[in-house]
Structures are given as structure tokens and as C-alpha cells.
């Protein structure tokens, strides 16, 4: 824009060798990325202090001109900017093998999930990175995967019931055991620990679970418990897939439990993430949740080939996390906590809201936008937010 003009002056006093431009920037509080960009350009043309100051000043003016103006409806712009591309998203729950055969909810259903802050998303998934020692070697990565993936008795053994003698026979498959890194001894111990009122014995490579009480019901209950018994790994993690990515092995899981996985040996806790935002909030705090919302939302939109400026999503994430806890966009969160009765009634459950307010004798102060539109008054947005005050003495 004004670069040509400035460039003419450079020849006159090109004496900016080893200038420290940072000092000039102190007067002009520009964002870091803009600052860096201008600085690089200044270094390139080797600007003198005078020129540099002029350039920065001009840039700062342009920057101020481009800022959002006070009173502008930032929220409505964000809502429209996300809403319009949203109409083009797949409505169907679309399961797509995004990363290595793992089902992930995508499209509109996923976006709704993110904004609703579902505690249990339909397809929780984790991306687990490993520490240096484990990331380079496939067998070592497998080792970590075994520690994470939930292993049930049925995965490594056959279960048979012997009703006549009131006992359950567990016959392990040696190959499966070896793959999971378990021994018969481990299996026996786990079963002993996990079941009550039974006697566990080993015989002939098999494990015999003898029910102490001779009752058919107890036998069946024990069988159910045995089937649900987690021998190794974390209960929530149903499947682990190992993939090589950018020179290191990465684990992808179906199911998620951030807290437990972060403690597993070999897992690089600082680079391990989940797509369950509520879990991130609980384990890593509100700021991490804010970052997760932004990332997940952008990824979901991008995957559908839609381009939405991050700023809009950042605004949404800011609103959702402003109270220090995650609030959903909707009647149980942001919209439902509005103080105006009319604004709430205009959103969802109109009759309920009005009825409750009437019973309580609530008063609407008509301070917000929605309620003023309803009653037909000017709204406090843009130029409507400004009031003229007459100073008596100045007339």
C-alpha cells in the first residue's frame, strides 16, 4: 500500500546497518506475527531508523483501521460464518476410516457434538505418541499398545462351563497369550483377584474356576463377571492401532481415557491427545479445553472442505470457556443462562420459560439485543450503542 512511497526515501538515507527495530515497536503495540513480518521486511531493505519508524507507523494505522469496531456484532458474524458452511455439511452420521480403520464421527454430527460438549462423544479416539525409547521400534510400540489395550479373557482363551461339577474351564490360546505378553500365572492371578467366592486352580495348562456355592445362578453370575474381567490394559480402550508417521510409531485408539493413558510407561504424556473435549477439560484444564475446541472444530470443518476463519471459532471457544467451566452452546449452556426472559423464550422452550418467569415474578430489564427486537426498540449494537450527552456549559 504505502510501500512504494517509502521505498523512494530509502535511497536517501540507507544507513540502517544492524538497527534494533524492536525499540520502534514498543510504541506501536502490534500483534507478534505482524511485528515479525514487518521486521523481516525492514531488515531486508535495511531501513534506517527514520524510515523504519514511518513504515511501522503507517502499518499501525492500517492495523487500527482493520480492527473490529466497538459495537460491532462479532457474535452474530461468527454465528453466520459457521452456520452457512454448516448447511453444506453431511447431515448423516458419516463414519469414515480417517486414520487406520478407526471409526470417527465426522461432519455435522461431530460439530454438534463439539458445541454441545458431550461428555461421551459417540466415537472417542486418542492419538498417543511415545517417548523416544519406544517410538522407533515396532515391537516396543506393541509393548506399550498391550499395556493400553483392554484385554478380556475371551481374547486369549476359550471359556467353557461345566454345569455338572459347578465350574468354569478357561483354556488359554498360547499364541494369543504370547502376543499379549501374558503368562498362565498372570492369568490365574488376575482371575483370582477379579472374582469372589471361587477357587482358582491350574491344571494341565488350563485354569479351573470352581464356584464355592453350588448354585446355578452363582455360576452364571461368575461367568458373566469372568467375561467382563479386564486382564490387562485400560477398560475404556477397546482397540489400539499402530501406525508409522513421520519417522515414529504412533498409537491410535478406539475409546479414550486420557488420565490413565498419560500414566502408562512409554507414553509421551505431553503429546498425547484425545478427541473427547470434556476429558481434556477435566485432566488438562480450561485453557487446554479451549485449544481442543478450536482444533477439533477447525479439523471437522476442514475435513468437509469448508473454510471458516479461525477467529470465529476462537470467539465461540472463548464464550464456551469464559466461566472457567465448559458450557455448551444451547439451552443448557450459553443460551439458557441469559438473564433476559424474552431472549431465553425466543431461543427454545418458549412456553416453559415464560411460565416459569411468570410464576417467579421475574422482571425483564430489556438490556440485551433479542428482547429489544421483540418489543420493537432500537438495539444496542453498532451506532445504536452510542448515546449523545449534552454538556450544558458548552452551549
Amino acid at each position: 500500500m504505502s510501500e512504494e512511497k517509502v521505498e523512494g526515501e530509502i535511497e536517501e538515507n540507507a544507513s540502517g546497518e544492524n538497527m534494533d527495530y524492536d525499540k520502534i515497536f514498543e510504541e506501536f503495540p502490534l500483534p507478534m506475527t505482524v511485528k515479525e513480518e514487518i521486521k523481516n521486511e525492514l531488515v531486508k531493505i535495511n531501513a534506517s531508523e527514520d524510515v523504519a519508524r514511518k513504515v511501522v507507523k503507517k502499518c499501525y494505522e492500517v492495523y487500527l483501521r482493520n480492527l473490529m469496531e466497538p459495537g460491532e456484532a462479532a457474535g452474530i458474524v461468527a454465528a453466520q460464518s459457521i452456520g452457512e458452511p454448516g448447511t453444506q455439511m453431511t447431515m448423516r452420521t458419516f463414519h469414515y476410516a480417517g486414520v487406520a480403520e478407526i471409526d470417527v464421527t465426522l461432519g455435522l454430527p461431530r460439530l454438534i457434538e463439539i458445541l454441545d460438549v458431550r461428555k461421551n462423544p459417540s466415537t472417542p479416539m486418542m492419538t498417543i505418541r511415545l517417548t523416544e525409547e519406544y517410538a522407533q521400534d515396532r515391537s516396543k510400540a506393541r509393548e506399550v499398545a498391550n499395556r493400553i489395550e483392554a484385554t478380556y479373557v475371551l481374547d486369549i482363551a476359550d471359556i467353557a462351563t461345566d454345569i455338572r461339577r459347578m465350574r468354569i474351564l478357561v483354556s488359554p490360546d498360547e499364541k494369543a497369550m504370547e502376543r499379549k505378553g501374558l503368562t498362565l500365572e498372570d492369568l490365574k492371578k488376575k482371575i483370582e483377584k477379579g472374582l469372589k467366592n471361587v477357587e482358582v486352580e491350574e491344571s494341565d495348562g488350563k485354569i479351573v474356576v470352581q464356584v464355592t456355592e453350588p448354585s446355578y445362578k452363582v455360576l452364571m453370575d461368575t461367568l458373566d463377571k469372568l467375561k467382563k474381567l479386564v486382564l490387562a490394559g485400560i477398560k475404556e480402550i477397546r482397540r489400539v492401532i499402530i501406525r508409522k508417521e513421520e519417522g515414529e510409531y504412533v498409537l491410535y485408539t478406539e475409546g479414550s481415557n486420557l488420565k490413565k493413558v498419560m500414566k502408562v510407561k512409554g507414553v509421551d504424556a505431553s503429546r498425547t491427545i484425545t478427541n473427547n473435549i470434556y476429558e481434556i477439560y477435566e485432566v488438562l484444564g480450561i485453557e487446554a479445553a479451549r485449544n481442543a475446541i478450536i482444533q477439533e472444530a477447525i479439523n471437522t470443518l476442514e475435513e468437509q472442505g469448508l473454510e471458516v476463519n479461525v477467529r470465529h471459532i476462537m470467539l465461540v471457544a472463548d464464550v464456551m470457556t469464559a466461566d472457567g467451566e465448559l458450557r455448551q452452546i444451547g439451552r443448557h449452556g450459553v443460551a439458557g443462562e441469559k438473564q433476559s426472559i424474552l431472549a431465553r423464550a425466543a431461543f427454545e422452550m418458549t412456553v416453559n420459560n415464560l411460565l416459569d418467569a411468570a410464576v417467579r415474578g421475574d422482571v425483564d430489564k430489556l438490556k440485551g439485543i433479542t428482547e429489544n427486537i421483540i418489543v420493537g426498540q432500537p438495539i444496542k449494537l453498532g451506532t445504536g450503542d452510542v448515546e449523545l450527552v449534552l454538556k450544558m456549559g458548552k452551549l
Binding site: P31, M32, T33, V34, K35, E36, M262, A269, S270, R271, I273, I280, E282, V283, L284, G285, I286, E287, A288, N291, A292, V310, R311, M314, D318, T321, A322, D323, G324, E325
Partner: protein
């Protein structure tokens, strides 16, 4: 292995606990009262890690895709 710090996690931006004087200064430059700031709970995992008490202000240095680094403040509740 040394104990894992939440601050090391890629999703967690840097949280700094402000002293009372610094907090006063921040409120003055922003021209707002404490209650107008966004909040962070005292039982938030990261707030616990830096030992924040209700009423204090936490400065958060975020890595922002648009501004490079952006600074935000949260009131501990």
C-alpha cells in the same frame, strides 16, 4: 522419570500467577474490574499446579494462529 507437568502438554498454554501489584496494573490498563475477566476455577488442574487462590489473576500466554502470541487474563474463582 520426573513427574509430568501439565504445563509440558502441547494443549496447555503458559499460565503465570500475577502478584497483587501486577494484577492491579493489568486491571488499570484494561479498564475493567476483576469480575469482568473470564474465570478459571481454583480446582482447575493447571490452576492447582501453579497454586492459584480465588481472587488472584492468572496471565495466560496463548499460542494463537492469528496473532502469534496473545495474552489473556483469567480471574481465579
Amino acid at each position: 522419570m520426573s513427574k509430568f507437568k501439565l504445563h509440558d502438554h502441547i494443549l496447555v498454554p503458559k499460565h503465570i500467577l500475577l502478584s497483587d501489584e501486577e494484577a492491579e496494573e493489568v486491571l488499570k490498563t484494561l479498564g475493567v474490574s476483576k469480575e469482568q475477566l473470564p474465570k478459571i476455577r481454583a480446582d482447575d488442574p493447571v490452576a492447582k499446579e501453579i497454586g492459584a487462590k480465588p481472587g488472584q489473576i492468572v496471565k495466560i500466554i496463548r499460542e494463537s494462529p492469528t496473532a502469534g502470541k496473545s495474552i489473556a487474563y483469567r480471574l481465579v474463582i
